[in-house]
């Protein structure tokens, strides 16, 4: 944490998360999905764009087990994964 002793220097103000905090997964219900996601990351050199499907699966698991508030996945930025293939080509054409 920055010691904001010097007046005028830019300091960091933490912001609360938009949807609050994740409840802890005490029973490891979604551990399998997490392992799939981590394996995908390791295989793809930690490139997030390649592993979005696995992250979507993990969040869906959380929602199914009441570890996350249920929300349409498009609100979580997975709109491109939800659209059927004909629409996805339109999504790719966007800059």
């Amino acid at each position: 944490m920055s010691t904001a002793m010097n007046f005028g220097s830019k300091s960091f103000t933490p912001r609360p998360p938009e949807k609050g905090a994740f409840p802890l997964d005490h029973f490891g219900e979604c551990k399998a999905f997490k392992e799939k996601f981590m394996k995908c990351l390791r295989d793809n050199n930690f490139d997030n764009s390649m592993c979005r499907l696995q992250s979507k699966d993990y969040l869906e698991c959380r929602m199914d087990h009441q570890l996350m508030a249920k929300e349409p996945l498009s609100k979580l930025g997975f709109r491109d994964l939800m659209d059927p293939p004909p629409n996805q080509s339109d999504g790719d054409s966007k800059p």
């Binding site: 912001r15 905090a21 994740f22 802890l24 005490h26 996601f37 050199n45 992250s55 993990y58 997975f78």
Partner: protein, 247 residues
């Protein structure tokens, strides 16, 4: 200026001879009165112009005073109005670390990823010296692009025999990039309880604002470091949280 006076005097003199015939003494009086008359008239003119001047000064002073008073009232009003105006300006420009306005949930839905700009996000885990959890990130780095949501994991283990409640906060370096780093959901700012010998995965779901790519100050920023620090929370202790209300 004196010409009309002289003319008037001449006319009076012309008229005077009639009187002279009748009253030579009066002519004498007339003559004698000339200088005093001149004086009297000039004095009258001077006093008239003097009064005019005084009146002019008075009105000028009044208008000047009104203008000054209006300016003073305007300054006071401006100083009162400056408070909300400055707040608006700070929100719009993001100076001083204030939360940039316009961060709403709909942005996540509508934003498009900027695929050309790849940013490396490195993860760091810290804990307070007296905190006995083992806390570490499960990946050292992840490559994301602005506008794309990303998931990352930390792992925490309680090796002791008693339950420990932890609470965490985070930090983003470089500081200026912090305003573009948005967390949708994480595990910070809330008490997390770990039972003895329990190990959990803690996810962080975040994205980098697409406007990051358009900020000239961020043109050379390729690495962002996200650092979490865990502290131990005592039972019943309520920490002041940054704008985050406890339920």
């Amino acid at each position: 200026m004196l010409l009309p006076l002289l003319l008037r005097q001449a006319a009076a003199c012309r008229a005077a001879p009639k009187m002279l015939l009748h009253h030579p003494a009066e002519h004498h009086f007339l003559r004698r009165r000339l200088p005093p008359r001149l004086h009297a008239q000039s004095r009258n003119r001077k006093s008239k112009s003097g009064q005019q001047q005084q009146d002019e000064w008075r009105t000028r002073n009044k208008t000047a005073l009104t203008y000054i008073a209006a300016a003073g009232v305007g300054m006071i009003g401006l100083s009162y109005a400056a408070v909300p105006l400055y707040r608006l300006y700070c929100q719009a420009s993001g100076l001083g670390g204030t939360a940039v306005a316009g961060h709403d949930v709909d942005q996540v839905e509508t934003m498009t990823p900027v695929k050309e700009r790849i940013i490396k996000v490195t993860f760091n885990a810290d804990r307070h010296a007296s905190m006995q959890w083992n806390f570490k990130p499960q990946q050292t780095e992840i490559f994301v692009v602005p506008g794309e949501t990303a998931l990352a994991f930390y792992r925490a283990k309680n090796p002791t025999d008693k339950p420990i409640i932890g609470i965490s906060t985070y930090n983003v370096v470089p500081f200026e990039a912090g305003q573009y780093f948005n967390k949708i959901q994480c595990f910070c700012f809330e008490e997390q309880r770990l039972n003895p010998h329990e190990e959990v995965d803690m996810p962080v779901f975040f994205y980098i604002d697409p406007e990051f790519d358009e900020d000239p100050r961020m043109a050379r920023v390729d690495t962002i470091t996200l650092s979490y620090t865990f502290f131990e929370a005592k039972e019943g202790q309520k920490l002041p949280l940054p704008g985050y209300s406890y339920n």
